[in-house]
Amino acid sequence: MRRRGARPFFFFPLLLPLLLLLLLPPSPAWPGTDGYLAELKETAAHRLLQNDRYWDILLFYKPAAGGRKSLVDDPKFFLAPGGKRDPGAELSATLDAMFDDSLSPPARCRFPARYEWLQETLPIDPVRLPAPECPMLDNSLHAINPKSASLIFASGHMNAPASMFGHTFLRLDGDYESPLLSYAVNYAATINRKDNGIAYAFKGIFGYYPGYYSILPYYVKVREYASMEQRDLWEYRTNLTETEVRRMALHILEMQGIYSDYYFLDENCSYDLLFLLEAARPSVTLTDRHKGFFVTPIETLRSVLAEGLIDNVVFRPSTARTIQHKAEEAGEAEVGLAKSLASGDVAPSTVVEGPLPPQDKAGVLDLASDFTHYLYLKREIPKDLYQGRYLGILAARSTVAGHPPESRPLPVPAPPESGHLVSRASLAGGARDGQSFLEIAYRPAYHSLEDPVEGFNDGSQIVFGEAAVRWYPGDEKVRLQRLDLIDIVSLAPRDALFRPVSWKVQTGFATQDFPGGVESLVYVLNPGGGFAWKVSPLGIVSLLAETDLEVSGRYDHSFAFGMGGSAGIARQVSDRWGVLGQARYIYGVLGDREQGRRFTASLKAPVRLSRNRSLVLEGEHVEGPSVHVGTIRITWNAYF
């Protein structure tokens, strides 16, 4: 090891505080660095720095069998051979690396957060261990210019209930007024394009994809979420100080190109961001709040709010929401005209030369350009057509002065954290064909149409693993009533501009009625697709075509496959209660065609008691060949 540090010492002796000099222990190696390294290691060992909380945060150490283990899996991240499981060895190796001139880039540049922490904590005397130049690091820091930070929550897509879990990422804000010029910090799994759905799910759940942090301009993320995926963004401005944010940025920069095995359910996008926030402000407890098997972005957001890190929130609507609002502001004829402009059926000059007042012309053309852009993003019009049409509309718009009148600002929905918690336990009592029963149910996640809608997308449902057990006191029977593996419903209303398809898929075990009052558990697979509309005063009206496969020994040929459809209404009457009605008919096609034929009608009235309590009153009637069963039930739900 080459000795360094001597030159600055001799050139600038006067800059050193005299006291410090006196405190330095005499050493044969003085003023060389070998002795200093040993001295720093001794201090670190004496003060048990390897057990310091900040060292745990920077290295992602968590308690594990036999000590602590880092969640990072990339060997490049560790300077000691066994660093993943040995915080002390890693600390010692980090100090060694700081004194190693042969490293390129120097350890201080590669691991700037570790360096700064050690420098402040030990402390390291910059005269005895001069800091090397880090041009790349300095340039990245200069470009990002981190001054403050925001936590961004991307809410679910209207017509993709699976995205309901949301997504979180960080934004580092600099001096610019415009947040578009900030940088987004994202943690995500890098997935293999060639994998199919099953391989994807398996690899994702069992940690076979590498997770990396990335930094991208915020405008790229806004386009990705707000414009391409049509998801609203909630920008939670943190109260982290400039020093804290800078510390976090250094840590982010040292994580570049470092992977950790990504687990969809727990070590995921939102969980790993918490380490960054802890690196900024180690006094908060974030990662230790999440110990379950399943960490959702909304829960991590709640932790961040609970730790008092958030000052305020800004809502950035998706493009579709903006377009919908503009369409509501414009008249029906104007929306039709805008649509014709976007489809190329009407030339923009027709609007400019037409009879509309200037403000309405501006409104039509603004809506038309937004909608044309939306269609292009949805790849519903090809690029060459889009370019000409879009610029044509904009050129016409530039000749019209003023802005469309806005009678009211875009309505901001309830923020995601205002929604109910996602696990649910239920107690129910009711009667089936005059026989009373009690029922208990548990659902790990996430939201169903009968749950309080505040903070969730209206018309979206995603239920995982709900199990219900029913007890008939009359004959002392206890039985598994229902086990929903997955139950997804997406009712997306169609309007003049948007034409989404509504769909559902449900699979699991359900209790079915058979002749003679017999009930039996059958396996069900029930997908469906169709359309929905908003019709006042009925709410969301839906019509779905469905198929229904049921497997059970009670059926002839052990299965029944039927086709049919359902009609439903879903109306939120007030904040407190709503109505869900459905009529469904399935006609037996294959297998036990007789028993496969069934008509079901149900009516539910969910009542919101508080954010995390609700009641559901319901009645259902099932009519089939020699089956006529009516059930009434009242359910009390607690969300936790």
Partner: protein, 154 residues
């Protein structure tokens, strides 16, 4: 310029392992949006990716780079402005045509237009929309150069 070169060099190094993922730009004019290539992804994968927040690209893109397109004149060597305009051409065109919007105010900020002069700046650009965006294939270099010259006119 040296700083810029170092930054560019540094970023190409970071991005080297994700080379394929970085080929996001498909041209230089309007409609040059960054599409993720979804041709070889099944709908299921896309739905799953949305659920679980997987991604096909992960990069440290502190700057996005504008090297593959024609560069603006020497007068406008403002890397941040160039990058932003190139990456947001469609949104900028929309805002200029309407005389307001977040993308337009971001450009005004990057150009250092004082708050008090923003309205005049916006109107000038709106009035010169045809010059700034003469044709669909317009390159960002022309857009930047024209915005600068138009905003400097009395």
């Amino acid at each position: 310029m040296k700083k810029l070169l170092i930054t560019v060099a540094a970023l190409s190094l970071f991005a080297a392992s994700y080379a394929s993922a970085n080929q996001m730009n498909t041209g230089c004019g309007v409609g040059t949006l960054i599409f993720q290539d979804t041709k070889d992804q099944s709908t299921l994968i896309q739905v799953l990716a949305m659920t679980t927040n997987g991604t096909f690209m992960n990069t440290f893109g502190v700057t996005t780079g504008t090297s593959e397109c024609k560069q603006p004149s020497k007068v406008v060597q403002h890397e941040r402005l160039n990058e932003f305009v190139q990456a947001n051409l469609d949104e900028l065109a929309r805002d200029i045509s309407a005389g307001k919007g977040e993308t337009l105010s971001t450009v005004a900020e990057l150009m250092g237009v004082p708050a008090g002069d923003r309205d005049a700046f916006n109107s000038k650009l709106q009035a010169n929309f045809h010059q700034i965006f003469p044709a669909p294939g317009v390159e960002y270099a022309h857009v930047v150069d024209t915005i600068v010259s138009v905003s400097n006119q009395g």
